[in-house]
């Protein structure tokens, strides 16, 4: 394995085991590693890959194979996918086998209540960093605000909002 593939494996294995509270919580660390530490892409490119992954069907973790593809082609896809989905699946297999023992354990709601603020802070960080990476002009800032407002106040489908943002972007208004 090349040093790049080894680095991808180490990064995504760590992300796999730290992803409490879903995919959005690990975006800041993923961005820090692939942009700031390894310089595999710019923050703006990372934002674009995240957007592509959101436009695809399936679980909201699809930025993982996409980063692998961008950095190291098909091998990168395999390495990032196995590193990201393998360890958490092993944890799930072990936990599912023991589930009956700790299902009703009194510390379970306490742990959940304790984790909630931390995962919230992580998702807010994701929003701030991805917004910072994707807003280069006032018109793109308007799209962020418009989509955020529409997604919070209406029941419009996320895919529809993504399409609306892309369509507004295509007009090129305010993008020079």
């Amino acid at each position: 394995m090349t040093p790049t593939l080894v680095a991808l494996m180490v990064i995504f294995t760590q992300l796999s085991l730290l992803a409490f509270g879903g995919g959005a919580t690990i975006l800041p660390e993923m961005q820090r590693q692939v942009v700031d530490v390894h310089h595999w892409m710019s923050a703006q490119e990372f934002g674009a890959l995240f957007a592509l992954a959101q436009a695809a069907p399936g679980p909201n973790m699809m930025i993982v194979p996409l980063v692998g593809w961008h950095v190291a082609g098909l091998q990168g896809v395999l390495v990032t996918s196995i590193a990201k989905f393998g360890p958490s699946s092993v944890v799930t297999i072990v936990a599912a086998s023991l589930w009956n023992r700790f299902r009703a354990h009194p510390w379970r709601p306490v742990v959940l209540a304790g984790l909630a603020p931390v995962t919230t802070g992580l998702v807010c960080s994701s929003a701030a960093l991805i917004t910072q990476a994707s807003v280069q002009t006032w018109s793109l800032g308007l799209i962020v605000l418009g989509v955020a407002a529409a997604a919070s106040r209406t029941r419009l489908h996320p895919l529809l909002l993504l399409a609306a943002g892309a369509a507004f972007g295509l007009t090129g208004i305010g993008q020079g």
Partner: protein, 189 residues
């Protein structure tokens, strides 16, 4: 064939094989745009009846508790339940196979046409919209914490560490998660 007597409260359908697990989750991966969870419930409980509503809620509770994506963990747990490790593999591979292909196809298109100004504008708009969805998700997750000052403090500490100071995730989690759990435990007593 299965000769165990039927138990009315359990899922009515016979348990799925590895092939069915693969195709069931493949379908889910292909059709689930912008949130697979409601679709997953529909498929597992109503359409294929692999799980009862109670079993679904119970398994989901486990999966939300563990690291990794809820739906990805759920596919592993459901596959494991019916066909052991091979079932878990079939389910998770089915779930991520199609989305991986789609996302790489989009990535190829992006790489090829990123220099075209129209395509660049379109992707800029898409990226801004995706950021907007994350902002909405943050608001949705943060609003239940409004009345809990301690929770707000921990969420803010986490935000400052990760988004502003760019501290790595591992030390941040190792510090804040146990502290936050400890405080939640003290408050619950």
């Amino acid at each position: 064939m299965d000769i165990t007597p039927e138990v009315p409260s359990l899922a009515a359908e016979p348990s799925p094989g590895t092939g069915e697990l693969f195709t069931g989750f493949l379908w889910l991966g292909l059709t689930g745009f912008g949130g697979v969870l409601p679709l997953a419930r529909h498929m597992l409980v109503e359409k294929r009846r692999w799980l009862t509503a109670e079993e679904f809620t119970d398994l989901l509770g486990l999966c939300q508790f563990l690291p990794g994506g809820n739906i990805i963990n759920l596919s592993v747990a459901v596959g494991l339940r019916f066909r052991g490790i091979p079932g878990a593999l079939a389910a998770i591979l089915g779930l991520i196979a199609a989305p991986t292909a789609v996302v790489i196809g989009l990535g190829v298109l992006y790489d090829r046409y990123a220099d075209d100004p129209h395509i660049r504008h379109l992707f800029n708009g898409l990226a801004a919209a995706a950021a907007g969805l994350l902002v909405a998700l943050s608001i949705k997750m943060a609003s239940p914490l409004r009345t809990r000052p301690v929770a707000i403090a921990f969420a803010s500490l986490c935000f400052v560490a990760i988004a502003i100071l760019r501290v790595p995730l591992l030390p941040t989690m190792l510090t804040l998660a146990p502290l936050s759990i400890l405080v939640a435990w003290r408050l619950a007593r």
